[in-house]
């Protein structure tokens, strides 16, 4: 199965969720800021990457994990990837929005760091926002894994 974590920019919450899912970071404790910033794609993507699918890794069940930034167009993404009405989906795809776990602090930090390119100012806010969103993302990943395991 292919699991796609998506959010506005595909560079913060979806990356953290994918890292949690693939076991790249612990479910018990969020690592320090410098280690978080070493995660692939974290706070590196900009508008030109939106809509592009990035392979993140494979989980213990062999499911392939992807991330994707879809701006505010989750509806279009779902329509296109789930396939046309009346047709079978090509492959088993699970789309998971990480947006419900994004706190305001992360939105502001992400905007400053990615959109305005003030990385020095935005990154501390991004890290604080990720810290705040971590429990929710951990819960989200737990539920996704449970759903996948139950088929």
């Amino acid at each position: 199965m292919e699991i796609i974590y998506h959010c506005f920019g595909g560079t913060h919450s979806s990356v953290l969720a994918a890292a949690l899912h693939t076991g790249m970071i612990s479910h018990r404790r969020l690592p320090a800021g410098d280690r978080l910033l070493r995660l692939p794609f974290l706070d590196t993507q900009d508008g030109s990457n939106h809509g592009q699918l990035y392979f993140f890794g494979t989980d213990e069940g062999g499911n392939r994990i992807f991330i994707l930034g879809r701006r505010r167009d989750a509806g279009a993404l779902t329509l296109i990837l789930n396939g046309a009405t009346g047709e079978e989906p090509v492959r088993e795809i699970l789309l998971v929005s990480a947006m419900p776990c994004v706190p305001l602090l992360l939105k502001i930090g992400g905007f400053i760091s990615r959109r305005l390119q003030f990385t020095r100012l935005g990154r501390p806010l991004v890290l604080a926002g990720l810290r705040r969103g971590y429990p929710c993302l951990r819960e989200l990943v737990y539920r996704v894994k449970k759903e996948v395991a139950e088929g």
């Binding site: 329509l79 296109i80 090509v90």
Partner: protein, 136 residues
């Protein structure tokens, strides 16, 4: 090859064009409102619908959904990567169609043809594929 007519403004114009392409609606634009409203999911604010095959047996789809026009082709590329269906989807935007042309089609009025396609005796559209949904 699969043809997708899409409208990123969320208008079901793509459905009308796909219906004409697959022969569900006549090409000369002479159809009634009832025929238009009987198209699948036409009242839905967004949909991705398989409409059938065209004269060359290509599958024809319509997609309408309010979205960033830049992202729709990228989402299809993502779909191609996931489904190993590289190069299968041929995307045809209809959201650049002028409003008058859209209204002509939706209202069942004759569609003006491109230069050389107009019937000189009647001055009306000859019945071949209108310019904006003609394949390159």
């Amino acid at each position: 090859m699969k043809l997708v007519y899409y409208d990123s403004r969320g208008l079901p114009l793509a459905a009308v064009v796909a219906a004409i392409r697959t022969g569900r609606l006549p090409q000369n634009g002479a159809f009634k409102a009832a025929a238009l409203f009987s198209l699948p999911l036409i009242n839905s604010p967004r949909a991705f619908v398989y409409y059938g095959t065209d004269e060359k047996k290509r599958k024809v789809y319509a997609l309408w959904c309010k979205a960033d026009p830049l992202l729709i082709p990228r989402f299809f590329r993502a779909r191609e990567e996931l489904g190993r269906e590289a190069g299968e989807w041929f995307l045809l935007p209809v959201d650049g169609v002028p409003g008058t042309a859209a209204l002509r089609i939706a209202g069942g009025l004759p569609v003006p043809a491109r230069a050389g396609e107009e019937n000189s005796s009647t001055g009306r559209y000859s019945g071949t594929t209108p310019a904006f949904y003609n394949l390159p």
